[in-house]
């Protein structure tokens, strides 16, 4: 079983490489189109439907700095496929090099249980959870910009900041019931 590892290859100078994993293979194309236009860092975007990645590309693949799971909340299959792919990711990635991006979070027909499940998944793995809107070009540009911020840090292109440091600030947190009660009961 091939597991993706973060530090098994050498990095390139002033380059960053991101892997977009999406079951529908729709949003990732649009994001890739915007992200490669970045000028300050040379961005390489790899697209995948799910993990594990095919072994035949192993030699040509650069070191992946950030893995982004794109989940469409309207489809249950999207979430299930993302969860199944997580097993093929090496542990080193969960120190700030994994990110979840969800679309359709404001859809009227979205069952609340699915949103809760995604938040619990992201908070359990201590990863950031970003919300994106993929239907308009503005939405895609905004989502790409946010991913580039995290990507630059994960690739080491920002001095004095590491991926682990950033993930401590941006990771998704779902407080438990006891913590909620404590927040309410403090005396003013």
């Amino acid at each position: 079983m091939s597991v993706l590892r973060p530090l098994s290859k050498l990095p390139d100078i002033n380059a960053a490489s991101v892997l977009l994993v999406e079951n529908e293979e729709d949003f990732q194309q649009k994001l890739a189109g915007v992200m490669v236009k970045e000028k300050s860092v040379m961005v390489k975007v790899r697209l995948a439907k799910s993990l594990p990645l095919p072994a035949k590309n192993e030699q040509n693949r650069p070191r992946i700095d950030l893995v982004v799971f794109l989940i469409n909340l309207m489809s249950e299959l999207s979430l299930q496929s993302a969860e199944a792919s997580l097993k093929h990711l090496g542990q080193g990635y969960f120190l700030g090099k994994v990110c979840f991006m969800v679309t359709n979070a404001r859809h009227a027909a979205l069952p609340a249980e699915r949103m809760v499940a995604v938040r619990k998944l992201a908070s359990g793995l201590r990863c950031p959870l970003l919300y994106a809107e993929d239907q308009t070009p503005d939405g895609v540009t905004n989502a790409a910009e946010r991913l580039l911020v995290i990507l630059r840090v994960a690739a080491g292109c920002v001095p004095m900041t590491t991926a682990l440091f950033l993930s401590n600030l941006t990771s998704c947190i779902v407080p438990t019931e006891e913590e909620e009660q404590q927040n309410l009961d403090f005396d003013v």
Partner: protein, 356 residues
């Protein structure tokens, strides 16, 4: 400090107020289940959670009165209603006269132009007894609009143009208790008839009782709950078949109708519900995990035969002999024995969808 005036203040001071007097009105969502968080805007982050464990219902009374029978006749369109201000169950005759006058005056303005209507309309508001589950719940109100031609003899049957009902079945008692005195909570509104008349009735309610109406859709998880609860009832009342309709986002959009014999569905359900559960141990509650497992079984069976992954699509309709529910908010209850269960679930959906 008067608790009611503090409601209009900024959220921070309302948190302080809450600790002193419990009569501060809380949003429904902040009361339900795990996360209750009043410090921030209610309905914002912690707005879940639908109770994970819906007690299913063994249910229920076999005899129903004729008013309840009227609820089984047709398919209803659902909406949610915010609590009604100063709605009194004793004044139903007054309300029926007012609504009739309102409809006639609206029609004379040319708003609702219907060909062949008699010159007079008769509106009846009736109470449907036996639906409220606890003391705090208000009784169900059934509204009927009949047309009356002036030439007809008094014995001729009048044509029912429109009917609808407001109900609250199994609403969360904590929430009901926190409502201020003058408000009556009847969150589920079911309407059957022309769109024009529905809009007029809603407009009258909004004007008279200062409430808001909104569309209530049944999302896929609630449809799954309904399917599971109805299958659970098969042991006592046969549901004949379980029919599920999915819509898949293919080009062109594909609709999958998955119908199975009630016996097979029931066996799958029983095997999911804790294999080895004896009758005495069953405390009658169904968990969300069991419903998810039941559907996972159904979908994987379908995939094995047709190589079509149903999770990629959306569940849009569930129907059995006990009733049918559609994603757009249309419901039909065909059997009186499990009416209360279905209505409890729908009332909960309406309460959660309400904006306050």
């Amino acid at each position: 400090m008067d608790p009611h005036t503090s409601v209009a203040r900024s959220p921070f001071s309302s948190v302080v107020q809450r600790r002193r007097s419990k009569s501060h009105r809380q949003s429904y969502r902040s009361n339900v289940g795990t996360m209750s968080h009043l410090g921030y805007t209610p309905g914002f982050t912690k707005r879940r959670l639908t109770t994970c464990r819906l007690a299913p219902k063994r249910c229920s009374t076999a005899e129903i009165n004729p008013e309840q029978r009227a609820l089984l006749v047709r398919e209803w369109q659902l909406s949610y209603v915010t609590p009604l201000y100063r709605f009194q169950h004793g004044h139903l005759k007054t309300y029926s006269r007012q609504l009739a006058a309102f409809l006639v005056s609206e029609r004379q303005q040319g708003v609702a132009a219907e060909v062949g209507l008699g010159s007079t309309l008769k509106v009846t508001f009736t109470l449907v007894a036996g639906m409220a589950q606890t003391e705090e719940e208000a009784d169900t109100v059934f509204i009927k609009i009949l047309s009356k031609t002036p030439m007809a003899a008094p014995d001729d049957p009048q044509k029912v143009l429109w009917s609808g009902w407001l109900t609250c079945v199994g609403g969360n008692p904590d929430y009901l208790r926190t409502l201020p005195e003058d408000f009556v909570c009847l969150p589920l509104f079911c309407s059957g008839g022309t769109e024009g008349l529905t809009a007029l009735v809603k407009a009258w309610f909004q004007r008279t009782f200062d409430c808001c109406f909104g569309r209530l859709e049944i999302n896929s998880v609630n449809l799954q709950w309904l399917a599971a609860l109805w299958t659970d009832c098969h042991a006592r009342t046969s549901i004949k078949q379980l029919k599920l309709v999915w819509s898949l986002p293919a080009e062109p959009p594909m609709e999958v109708i998955y119908a199975m014999h009630a016996q097979d569905a029931s066996e799958l359900w029983r095997s999911v519900r804790q294999p080895g559960l004896r009758e005495e141990e069953d405390d009658g509650s169904v968990g969300l995990a069991e419903v998810a497992c039941f559907f996972k079984g159904l979908k994987s069976h379908f995939y094995r035969h047709f190589r079509v992954e149903l999770s990629a699509g959306r569940l849009t309709q569930v129907s059995t002999a006990l009733g049918s529910a559609k994603h757009g908010g249309r419901i039909k209850i065909s059997n009186s024995s499990y009416m209360i269960t279905t209505l409890t679930l729908l009332t909960e959906c309406a309460l959660l969808k309400m904006p306050i």
